[in-house]
Amino acid sequence: MAHRWGMVIDLDRCTGCEACVVACHAENNIATVGEKQAAMGRAIHWIRVERHWEGEFPNVRVRFQPIPCQQCDDAPCEPVCPTYASYQNAQGLNAQIYNRCIGTRYCANACPYTGRYFNWFNPSWDKPLQLQLNPDVSIRESGVMEKCTFCFQRILAAEANAQAEKRQLRDGEFSPACVQSCPSEAMVFGDLDDPQSEVSRLSRSDRGVKLLGEVGTFPKVTYLTRES
């Protein structure tokens, strides 16, 4: 049974708290690069919260927008990879196979959302911080591109569970770390192919927009615009 995993992010609910950012780091063994590298623009945040200032003091407004990989249907990052490290898997995700990646970084250039992050050096954890590493997720060596996977390891685990219990996956049974942690429940995850799922229902909302829809990437992340 095929799924098409998608996400809805309600910008009217999002408060910019960045719980998703740390949740993602913890779940996906994302390297902490340190001050020097971070200052160079090499920090890795598979999901980031973009901040947009509008207006001038005192009539100033801010908009937050969490941006994970948009898991595009027509992903520009995929065909440019010469080694098939980036391709669309059977569940519609823009998969990145670290073992196949040779580090051309073409995919990162092609991604209009700048949603791909590169390992400029080998990651390291000061002992015993390595004990925090999630054994379900591989760590990435120097020279390899990485990106949001919609917590693919959780999808696999949930599927295995459902299979063991001889049933279908239920909507909302599991979610990626960012969705799970979101304190204001701004993010919803689920199967877009299931018209009954919460994510399908919300992505059909008239508040729904795609980020950079004009680029023609057909993202599977839908943003619900702020109402003010």
């Binding site: 249907d73 027509d74 992903a75 520009p76 990052c77 995929e78 065909p79 990879c81 098939y84 980036s86 391709y87 669309q88 057909f218």
Partner: protein
Amino acid sequence: MNAIYGLFTDAGAARRALHELRGASARMRIGDDQILVMSSEPPEDLGLDLPHQRTRMPWLAALGGILGGTAGYSLVSFTQRTYPLPTGNMPIVALWPTGVVTYEFTMLGAILTTALTFFLTTRLPRSRRRFYDPEVSDGKILIGVADSDSNFWRDLERTLYEQGAEQVKQYSHA
């Protein structure tokens, strides 16, 4: 083989000598393929009157191109079908990218065939020693006859000198 040949500095002389040899071919029983010409520049540039050369090289190159293109297309379609990973919602064997690769392989095929044809038809490279005179490299034009009847050697030598050969040499090798 053996050969008797003259070295010419002057292209006109060489041309005349060649003409003379060809004229005397019936008399001295010299076949067209026995006439030796060697030069350090293309004979046409020197105005030497040589039998028209024919080659199928362009056709072979075209054929090579077709083969190359077919090979390119086959490689692309085979590899993509063998490991059918969808990317960017493109077809597994997509027209445009396959076209680009097919084109390059077509050209590669034509290039390789041309080079190959060149080496095959000129029978190069050769490591075995063959009849040659290094003075050709100094710009001399070599006109001579190979494996001619020994009765005509004197005759040939004289003819070559008459036509302006600076030197006439004899070559023999078992």
